[in-house]
Symmetry: C2
Subunit: 192 residues, 2 copies
């Protein structure tokens, strides 16, 4: 699939996610993720990406990072970081992201959630994405110990977990985003 | 290919690499990379990975990170971080890594370098890896603006760059490692 043509968006979700104990929490923003997701979005043609956090000081942090590199001194120092952040937006929660994508695309997005856990009804990539038809697509990635069951249940589709060779199941969300983007959009290049 | 069976190692190289101006420099260690590469190694069955840096204070930093999580308080707090770092080693340079892998495997490794630049003779993954035959494999990843021409020329094989949809060519090395590991070792899962 051609991501740019298909109007794909992504959100890095900091709430509601699980912590190690299975409680529902809000995690803190990792500033480096804002950059990494931006570079991935540019590489794979993802039209826009959102950093969601319900806490105002965390939203301010995200806004400051974006401003520093996009409009402030950072962008003068590093033009490719400026470019990488050109598609970034902050948001309070997934609902705000959903509404923003719907407004930008004049059509509500098809929401595809990701998880590292087994999930009944989780689909392979082609089926999960094809369900969108001609709609825009919004991919959700959870920080901490992953998106909550309620969020997965509310999504239009859930992707199967990334299964490696080993029993270890703790990929950084940065790595999971890279791998999913490559599997979804890098198909033509995957043989190289 | 089954990475564990194939005796695969990886090195994150901080020297010699290019900076933005094309000078050959040593970059600083990003502590988070030590964790991310560890989690990727566990997920994809990579037997060992090395963080190379020529400067003694940087080597000490790497040793402290590994010690904190593997033998110190960090490991008690987070058992999966302890596990993720169980395959990490510090090294001064690629030669030291090469010798260490050769000693561990009683056989010199086949060195496969990666680059984001066009490189004459760069190969597709199956060909580049197949060249190893039954030898252990050592994958090299460059920080900064990538491994130097001399290092690429000295490698047994060079992998083709990751080509995304767009002209933007600045993936974080963390993301490049995730994508290459998935393309090399995640083949069976790539259809999911």
């Amino acid at each position: 699939m051609n991501a740019a043509a298909a109007r794909v968006y992504a959100a890095l979700v900091h709430y509601p996610v699980y912590n190690r104990e299975g409680d529902i929490v809000a995690t803190s923003v990792t500033p480096l993720d804002v950059h990494d997701l931006g570079r991935l979005a540019l590489t794979y043609g993802v039209k826009g990406y959102y950093i969601t956090n319900p806490y105002e000081p965390q939203q301010r942090l995200v806004a400051e990072i974006i401003h520093h590199w996009r409009a402030g001194l950072g962008g003068d120092h590093s033009p490719h970081r400026k470019l990488a952040l050109s598609r970034a937006r902050g948001a309070a929660d997934v609902t705000e992201v959903f509404d923003d994508v719907a407004a930008r695309e004049s059509e509500e997005p098809w929401v595809v959630a990701t998880t590292a856990r087994a999930w009944p009804g989780a689909a392979a990539i082609p089926e999960a994405i094809a369900g969108a038809g001609s709609k825009p697509v919004l991919l959700l990635f959870g920080t901490g110990y992953g998106l909550t069951d309620d969020l997965l249940a509310a999504a239009d589709a859930v992707l199967r977990p990334i299964a490696g060779d080993a029993a270890f199941n703790h990929l950084p969300v940065r790595a999971a985003m890279a791998i999913y983007f490559d599997r979804i959009f890098g198909g033509a290049a995957a043989a190289t």
